[in-house]
Symmetry: C2
Subunit: 142 residues, 2 copies
Amino acid sequence: MTTLPIGQVSEQSGVKVPTIRYYEQIGLLPTPPRTEGNRRLYDGDDLKRLAFIRHARELGFDVGAIKALLSLQDHPEQSCSEADAIARSRLVEVRERISRLRALERELERMADHCEHTGTVAACHVIETLADPTHRHGRLDD
Amino acid sequence: MTTLPIGQVSEQSGVKVPTIRYYEQIGLLPTPPRTEGNRRLYDGDDLKRLAFIRHARELGFDVGAIKALLSLQDHPEQSCSEADAIARSRLVEVRERISRLRALERELERMADHCEHTGTVAACHVIETLADPTHRHGRLDD
DNA sequence: ATAGGTCCTCTAGTCACTAGAGAAGCAAGA
DNA sequence: TCTTGCTTCTCTAGTGACTAGAGGACCTAT
């Protein structure tokens, strides 16, 4: 089984060294074993976990939400209803994000296309694109 | 034309009062006119702008990215190529986020469905769902 | 054995808020 | 008009999630 020092894990996961230590400190990463000389040793699972955390953070999930998601992974023995509740509530959030991002995507596409075809700047309506779906009157995109 | 005090704007936009003042301070919001008694006065445009900022932040865009998006809206006279560059680079980012969120959505759906149908906890593979598309071998989900 | 790199802990700084203190403004009733 | 209570004002300090730096230990290669 391959083990990696923190620098390698950092490089391969895209998470900076101090951030990895920080994640350990706040309990997002398990405390890894150490060498004789007190250096942290990681394995492939840690690598994947870190990459997951990085992407989830980039998508705007806070540490609490990420902990909840990882707990699904970490505790397959937990009650079905509990896991289900976590998965479902995250699912609602994820779907809302997707629909907002799609609206923004369409607006940016429209602007880029307009520019390409006419050589002029399109009126920009990005502000409308992220309107709160729960407050909207029109239909929601699919 | 209706004007609103900061408290109303806060309530209707979902952005807290100190946060609104903070956005003014860092230049995300224009400095509003004041009453005789030195209180800020906002209008409907400010309201929309604030709601946009809130949603964009929730989606994980940082202030710099939001400024760039708002600049498209604010400066229709700017060069086409500049606006286009901003729109296109945001577009790439937005599409990547969408595809990752969709992968996560599918995994959460799978888990919720599994629980519903079998009454047992599904093996959770959320970690795999956000893998870096640029490092993946399989095809990307549209 | 020593030079250069990686790692250690600890403290402090950054970004984007968020909460609190203390004072001034304003609206409504006694 | 005065006062009670709410909103707003500015300013300072605290939070969450990093991020950078100091000072020192470890480790590899020559």
